[in-house]
Protein backbone atom coordinates (compact mmCIF):
# COMPACT_ATOMS: atom_id res chain seq x y z
CA UNK A 1 0.00 0.00 0.00
CA UNK A 2 1.42 3.37 -1.05
CA UNK A 3 0.14 6.92 -0.81
CA UNK A 4 -0.93 6.41 2.75
CA UNK A 5 -2.54 9.23 4.69
CA UNK A 6 -1.69 8.97 8.36
CA UNK A 7 -3.32 10.90 11.20
CA UNK A 8 -1.17 11.58 14.26
CA UNK A 9 -3.08 12.44 17.42
CA UNK A 10 -1.08 13.81 20.35
CA UNK A 11 -1.36 16.91 22.53
CA UNK A 12 2.41 17.39 22.23
CA UNK A 13 3.48 19.06 18.98
CA UNK A 14 7.02 17.79 19.57
CA UNK A 15 5.76 14.22 19.82
CA UNK A 16 3.66 14.62 16.65
CA UNK A 17 6.80 15.72 14.80
CA UNK A 18 8.84 12.80 16.19
CA UNK A 19 6.15 10.30 15.17
CA UNK A 20 5.93 11.91 11.71
CA UNK A 21 9.69 11.65 11.28
CA UNK A 22 9.64 8.01 12.41
CA UNK A 23 6.85 7.17 9.94
CA UNK A 24 8.60 8.85 7.04
CA UNK A 25 11.94 7.17 7.89
CA UNK A 26 10.24 3.78 8.05
CA UNK A 27 9.54 3.72 4.31
CA UNK A 28 5.90 2.77 4.75
CA UNK A 29 4.61 4.71 1.76
CA UNK A 30 3.37 7.66 3.77
CA UNK A 31 2.21 10.37 1.38
CA UNK A 32 0.35 12.71 3.70
CA UNK A 33 0.36 13.42 7.43
CA UNK A 34 -2.62 14.96 9.19
CA UNK A 35 -2.47 16.10 12.82
CA UNK A 36 -4.81 16.56 15.76
CA UNK A 37 -4.06 17.52 19.35
CA UNK A 38 -6.87 15.54 21.02
CA UNK A 39 -9.54 12.95 20.32
CA UNK A 40 -12.28 15.45 19.53
CA UNK A 41 -10.13 17.20 16.93
CA UNK A 42 -9.15 13.83 15.51
CA UNK A 43 -12.80 12.79 15.04
CA UNK A 44 -13.40 16.00 13.07
CA UNK A 45 -10.35 15.28 10.88
CA UNK A 46 -11.51 11.72 10.20
CA UNK A 47 -15.01 12.88 9.25
CA UNK A 48 -13.60 15.23 6.62
CA UNK A 49 -10.66 13.21 5.26
CA UNK A 50 -9.89 9.74 3.99
CA UNK A 51 -7.38 8.35 6.48
CA UNK A 52 -5.51 5.04 6.14
CA UNK A 53 -3.73 4.88 9.49
CA UNK A 54 -4.09 6.56 12.88
CA UNK A 55 -1.41 6.84 15.56
CA UNK A 56 -2.90 8.07 18.80
CA UNK A 57 -1.76 9.04 22.30
CA UNK A 58 -3.94 8.08 25.28
CA UNK A 59 -3.49 10.87 27.84
CA UNK A 60 -4.82 14.02 26.19
CA UNK A 61 -7.04 16.87 27.30
CA UNK A 62 -10.60 17.34 25.96
CA UNK A 63 -10.96 13.73 24.72
CA UNK A 64 -8.47 10.97 25.51
CA UNK A 65 -7.28 8.30 23.10
CA UNK A 66 -9.43 5.48 24.44
CA UNK A 67 -12.62 7.50 24.09
CA UNK A 68 -11.52 8.55 20.60
CA UNK A 69 -11.07 4.91 19.51
CA UNK A 70 -14.51 4.01 20.88
CA UNK A 71 -16.20 6.92 19.06
CA UNK A 72 -14.25 6.22 15.88
CA UNK A 73 -16.19 2.97 15.48
CA UNK A 74 -19.32 5.01 14.88
CA UNK A 75 -17.89 6.95 11.95
CA UNK A 76 -18.66 5.36 8.58
CA UNK A 77 -15.65 7.02 6.95
CA UNK A 78 -13.33 5.33 9.46
CA UNK A 79 -14.51 1.72 9.18
CA UNK A 80 -11.46 -0.57 9.08
CA UNK A 81 -8.94 2.22 9.63
CA UNK A 82 -6.26 0.77 11.93
CA UNK A 83 -5.34 2.66 15.09
CA UNK A 84 -2.00 2.21 16.83
CA UNK A 85 -1.71 3.72 20.29
CA UNK A 86 1.54 5.52 21.19
CA UNK A 87 1.56 6.28 24.88
CA UNK A 88 3.42 6.39 28.18
CA UNK A 89 0.63 4.27 29.67
CA UNK A 90 2.42 0.99 29.07
CA UNK A 91 0.83 -1.34 31.59
CA UNK A 92 -0.88 -4.57 30.60
CA UNK A 93 -4.22 -3.17 31.75
CA UNK A 94 -3.92 -0.17 29.47
CA UNK A 95 -2.91 -2.36 26.52
CA UNK A 96 -5.94 -4.60 27.08
CA UNK A 97 -8.20 -1.54 27.41
CA UNK A 98 -6.87 -0.05 24.17
CA UNK A 99 -7.13 -3.30 22.20
CA UNK A 100 -10.63 -3.90 23.57
CA UNK A 101 -11.63 -0.42 22.48
CA UNK A 102 -10.55 -1.23 18.92
CA UNK A 103 -6.85 -0.34 18.67
CA UNK A 104 -4.76 -2.67 16.51
CA UNK A 105 -1.35 -1.98 18.00
CA UNK A 106 0.41 -0.43 20.95
CA UNK A 107 3.75 1.41 21.18
CA UNK A 108 5.18 2.47 24.51
CA UNK A 109 6.93 5.82 24.93
CA UNK A 110 9.89 6.17 24.92
CA UNK A 111 10.34 4.46 21.56
CA UNK A 112 12.77 4.22 18.65
CA UNK A 113 11.88 4.77 14.97
CA UNK A 114 12.47 1.04 14.46
CA UNK A 115 9.80 0.24 17.04
CA UNK A 116 7.32 2.44 15.18
CA UNK A 117 8.06 0.52 11.97
CA UNK A 118 7.82 -2.86 13.76
CA UNK A 119 4.36 -2.06 15.10
CA UNK A 120 2.91 -0.16 12.15
CA UNK A 121 4.06 -2.38 9.27
CA UNK A 122 2.03 -5.50 10.29
CA UNK A 123 -1.04 -3.35 10.81
CA UNK A 124 -0.73 -1.89 7.32
CA UNK A 125 -0.03 -5.31 5.80
CA UNK A 126 -3.22 -6.65 7.35
CA UNK A 127 -5.08 -3.72 5.80
CA UNK A 128 -3.62 -4.62 2.40
Amino acid sequence: MDNITALIVDDSSVMRKIVERSLRQAGLGIAQILEASNGAEALAVVEKNKVDLILCDINMPVMDGLEFVKQLAGIENAKGVPVVMITTEGSEGHVVQALSAGARGYIRKPFTPDQVREHVLPVLETKR
Binding site: M60, G90, P110, F111
Partner: protein, 171 residues
Protein backbone atom coordinates in the same frame (compact mmCIF):
# COMPACT_ATOMS: atom_id res chain seq x y z
CA UNK B 1 16.40 -1.43 27.15
CA UNK B 2 12.92 0.00 27.33
CA UNK B 3 9.78 0.12 29.39
CA UNK B 4 9.07 -3.54 28.70
CA UNK B 5 11.95 -4.49 31.04
CA UNK B 6 10.93 -6.62 34.03
CA UNK B 7 9.27 -4.54 36.70
CA UNK B 8 10.38 -4.14 40.30
CA UNK B 9 7.88 -5.27 42.91
CA UNK B 10 6.56 -2.29 44.88
CA UNK B 11 6.70 -4.30 48.13
CA UNK B 12 10.50 -4.37 47.91
CA UNK B 13 10.40 -0.81 49.15
CA UNK B 14 11.13 2.68 48.10
CA UNK B 15 14.89 2.31 48.41
CA UNK B 16 14.74 0.98 44.84
CA UNK B 17 12.83 3.95 43.55
CA UNK B 18 15.81 6.30 43.16
CA UNK B 19 17.77 3.96 40.83
CA UNK B 20 14.53 3.09 39.05
CA UNK B 21 13.81 6.77 38.49
CA UNK B 22 17.35 7.31 37.24
CA UNK B 23 17.00 4.37 34.84
CA UNK B 24 13.62 5.63 33.62
CA UNK B 25 15.18 9.04 32.91
CA UNK B 26 18.22 7.54 31.21
CA UNK B 27 16.07 5.43 28.89
CA UNK B 28 14.02 8.43 27.80
CA UNK B 29 17.16 10.37 26.91
CA UNK B 30 18.78 7.38 25.20
CA UNK B 31 15.77 6.59 23.02
CA UNK B 32 14.18 9.97 22.35
CA UNK B 33 17.21 12.28 22.37
CA UNK B 34 19.95 9.79 21.44
CA UNK B 35 22.00 11.35 24.20
CA UNK B 36 23.24 9.56 27.32
CA UNK B 37 23.03 11.45 30.60
CA UNK B 38 26.07 11.84 32.83
CA UNK B 39 26.46 11.65 36.58
CA UNK B 40 27.43 15.12 37.84
CA UNK B 41 30.39 15.88 40.07
CA UNK B 42 29.75 16.72 43.73
CA UNK B 43 28.54 19.39 44.14
CA UNK B 44 26.75 19.64 40.78
CA UNK B 45 27.60 22.58 38.48
CA UNK B 46 25.88 25.89 39.10
CA UNK B 47 22.72 26.60 37.11
CA UNK B 48 19.52 28.59 37.27
CA UNK B 49 16.64 26.16 36.84
CA UNK B 50 13.96 28.41 35.43
CA UNK B 51 11.90 25.81 33.55
CA UNK B 52 9.83 23.35 35.57
CA UNK B 53 7.67 20.61 34.13
CA UNK B 54 5.27 18.75 36.41
CA UNK B 55 3.24 15.58 36.00
CA UNK B 56 0.77 14.57 38.71
CA UNK B 57 0.43 10.95 39.80
CA UNK B 58 -2.75 9.65 41.40
CA UNK B 59 -4.07 6.30 42.58
CA UNK B 60 -1.76 3.85 44.38
CA UNK B 61 0.96 6.48 44.27
CA UNK B 62 -0.04 10.12 44.75
CA UNK B 63 2.56 12.73 44.09
CA UNK B 64 4.24 15.02 41.60
CA UNK B 65 7.16 14.31 39.31
CA UNK B 66 9.08 17.41 38.25
CA UNK B 67 11.86 17.97 35.76
CA UNK B 68 13.76 21.24 36.21
CA UNK B 69 16.37 22.76 33.95
CA UNK B 70 17.51 26.05 32.45
CA UNK B 71 15.79 27.55 29.41
CA UNK B 72 18.97 26.98 27.41
CA UNK B 73 18.97 23.30 28.34
CA UNK B 74 15.27 23.01 27.50
CA UNK B 75 15.89 24.45 24.03
CA UNK B 76 18.78 22.03 23.50
CA UNK B 77 16.61 19.08 24.56
CA UNK B 78 13.90 20.17 22.10
CA UNK B 79 16.56 20.49 19.40
CA UNK B 80 17.79 16.96 20.09
CA UNK B 81 14.27 15.56 19.99
CA UNK B 82 13.43 17.27 16.71
CA UNK B 83 16.83 17.05 15.04
CA UNK B 84 17.05 20.82 14.46
CA UNK B 85 19.14 23.75 15.75
CA UNK B 86 18.58 24.85 19.35
CA UNK B 87 17.67 28.36 18.17
CA UNK B 88 14.94 27.03 15.90
CA UNK B 89 13.74 24.66 18.63
CA UNK B 90 13.16 27.42 21.18
CA UNK B 91 9.38 27.73 20.53
CA UNK B 92 9.05 23.99 21.22
CA UNK B 93 11.09 23.87 24.43
CA UNK B 94 8.12 23.97 26.83
CA UNK B 95 6.35 21.19 24.99
CA UNK B 96 9.57 19.14 24.84
CA UNK B 97 10.26 19.39 28.58
CA UNK B 98 6.63 18.54 29.32
CA UNK B 99 6.81 15.46 27.15
CA UNK B 100 10.10 14.36 28.69
CA UNK B 101 8.58 14.66 32.16
CA UNK B 102 5.54 12.69 31.00
CA UNK B 103 7.68 9.91 29.52
CA UNK B 104 9.90 9.66 32.60
CA UNK B 105 6.84 9.42 34.84
CA UNK B 106 5.25 6.75 32.67
CA UNK B 107 8.46 4.78 32.27
CA UNK B 108 9.06 4.91 36.04
CA UNK B 109 5.62 3.72 37.06
CA UNK B 110 5.68 0.94 34.47
CA UNK B 111 8.81 -0.43 36.17
CA UNK B 112 7.11 -0.74 39.56
CA UNK B 113 4.73 -3.69 39.78
CA UNK B 114 1.22 -2.56 40.55
CA UNK B 115 1.77 1.07 39.63
CA UNK B 116 1.37 0.60 35.89
CA UNK B 117 -2.36 0.01 36.17
CA UNK B 118 -2.83 1.45 39.65
CA UNK B 119 -1.40 4.89 39.07
CA UNK B 120 -2.64 7.50 36.63
CA UNK B 121 -0.74 10.42 35.16
CA UNK B 122 -1.94 13.94 34.56
CA UNK B 123 -1.07 15.81 31.41
CA UNK B 124 2.15 17.79 31.97
CA UNK B 125 2.22 21.39 33.13
CA UNK B 126 5.23 23.60 32.38
CA UNK B 127 6.12 26.68 34.41
CA UNK B 128 8.78 29.31 33.89
CA UNK B 129 10.59 31.43 36.44
CA UNK B 130 12.64 30.81 39.54
CA UNK B 131 10.91 30.05 42.83
CA UNK B 132 13.57 30.47 45.54
CA UNK B 133 11.55 28.56 48.11
CA UNK B 134 11.73 25.45 45.96
CA UNK B 135 15.52 25.47 45.79
CA UNK B 136 15.60 26.41 42.14
CA UNK B 137 19.32 26.90 41.87
CA UNK B 138 21.43 23.82 41.68
CA UNK B 139 23.64 25.24 44.44
CA UNK B 140 20.92 24.42 46.94
CA UNK B 141 21.67 20.73 46.49
CA UNK B 142 24.78 19.39 48.14
CA UNK B 143 25.24 15.98 46.56
CA UNK B 144 22.65 15.97 43.80
CA UNK B 145 20.86 12.95 45.22
CA UNK B 146 18.27 12.65 47.92
CA UNK B 147 16.06 9.76 48.97
CA UNK B 148 14.04 10.57 52.03
CA UNK B 149 10.55 9.53 53.06
CA UNK B 150 8.53 11.85 50.88
CA UNK B 151 10.94 13.06 48.21
CA UNK B 152 13.36 11.42 45.79
CA UNK B 153 15.66 13.70 43.87
CA UNK B 154 18.45 13.19 41.41
CA UNK B 155 20.62 15.33 39.15
CA UNK B 156 21.99 14.29 35.78
CA UNK B 157 23.96 16.23 33.20
CA UNK B 158 22.62 16.67 29.69
CA UNK B 159 25.36 18.02 27.40
CA UNK B 160 27.13 19.20 30.55
CA UNK B 161 24.11 21.08 31.92
CA UNK B 162 22.19 19.90 35.00
CA UNK B 163 18.67 18.52 34.95
CA UNK B 164 16.98 17.95 38.31
CA UNK B 165 14.38 15.20 38.59
CA UNK B 166 12.23 15.13 41.72
CA UNK B 167 9.49 12.73 42.78
CA UNK B 168 7.46 14.28 45.57
CA UNK B 169 5.42 11.56 47.24
CA UNK B 170 2.16 12.63 48.89
CA UNK B 171 0.80 9.18 49.74
Amino acid sequence: MNSSDPTLPAHEGREYWLPTLQLAMQEVFDLMLACPLEVPPTPPPEAILDITSMVGLSGQLCGILTVRCSARTAARMAARMLGIDAEKAQPEMFDAVGEICNMVAGNFKNKITGLGDGCMLSVPTVLTGVEPGLGSTINDMRSGEMNINDEIQTVRLFEGEPIVLTLEIHS
